[in-house]
Point group: C2
Chain length 187, copies 2
């Protein structure tokens, strides 16, 4: 067995990402992306959101396929539980963003991952959205993310991986910092 020939492979094409970084440094306009979704109300609190194309590298990007996500409220709220509730989709977004980041940073640092599991828990006082107490916010009062990581690395290296993923995570930024949302009704 030729040990020196064994290469770290987390399935991330770091060369392509570093190439993209170089290319976009020289063409910053190409780095301006637009992500999109369309949502159709089905009935009650049940909706279906479709994710398909996006804009980037100066052009429309069609995936040639679409992803559909049913969302609903749980039966506890007299709904039909046809999908995760909207706030749970925020946890899906955060978990998947941090996890993809860990794999990418690990690849770049030549660390072989064996398994990565994240458990997320977010507190929410329903007195907010139910309009019981205006002092209570509608959203989460905080999110706790716990990673269990098995990798060819020291505890310190693993902690540094997670910290770097956090620093570069789009969803971590969106959740921890304010983002402007403009809502309008079409004529």
């Amino acid at each position: 067995m030729n040990v020196t020939a064994m290469k770290v492979d987390n399935g991330v094409n770091v060369e392509a990402l570093l190439g993209a970084r170089t290319a976009l440094t020289e063409a910053p306009e190409a780095a301006r992306f637009k992500w999109r979704a369309t949502c159709d109300w089905i009935r009650g609190t049940h909706s279906r959101t479709t994710v398909q194309g996006f804009y980037g590298l100066g052009a429309e990007q069609s995936r040639g396929k679409s992803f559909r996500y049913d969302a609903d409220h749980p039966e506890l709220f007299a709904s039909e539980d046809n999908g995760a509730t909207p706030v749970e989709f925020v946890l899906v977004a955060l978990a998947s963003c941090l996890t993809a980041g860990i794999a990418s940073v690990a690849q770049n640092r030549n660390i072989q991952l064996r398994s990565v599991k994240a458990t997320l828990e977010a507190g929410m006082d329903m007195q907010g959205i139910l309009g019981i107490d205006n002092e209570v916010r509608n959203g989460f009062d905080g999110i706790k993310v716990t990673f269990h990581i098995d990798a060819d690395a020291t505890r310190e290296e693993i902690a540094a991986l997670v910290a770097q993923s956090q620093r570069r995570s789009a969803v971590f930024d969106i959740v921890t910092n304010p983002t402007n949302v403009a809502v309008e009704v079409a004529r």
Copy 2:
């Protein structure tokens, strides 16, 4: 045809929601919920997040089923596009939260909805997450949501529905205001 017997029906059980509001006003501890998700890394930027139980009304709530969401990055980033990209899940969350709110508020205001469609677009400058420019944030630079609503209501009533949904939306709050996220690595 007995017109007076026709009732507005958007599929939302407003009586149950108002009952919950009354019950939780008297028992604020029961209003403290915990939403959860677990995420398993698959390979590369591909992960699978599972949403199952949550805590609320003072007890663990099992759905008796789970929802699974694959997330990945698009092929443009040398990934395999096995699911929506994490930031697109933020749009799913926001769209579905505002849409469920519109249906609930419409039911409470006795307004029959015929169709509700939301289109969302979020700008993002990839110079942030790629580490090209530290002045550029990692997340969205803003989100625009446009609703197309067909309902038995005036334009003003429809605009007021959307505004009230926004005021009571958990995800709108999470995106527009900061939420603390604590990330740790388990021993």
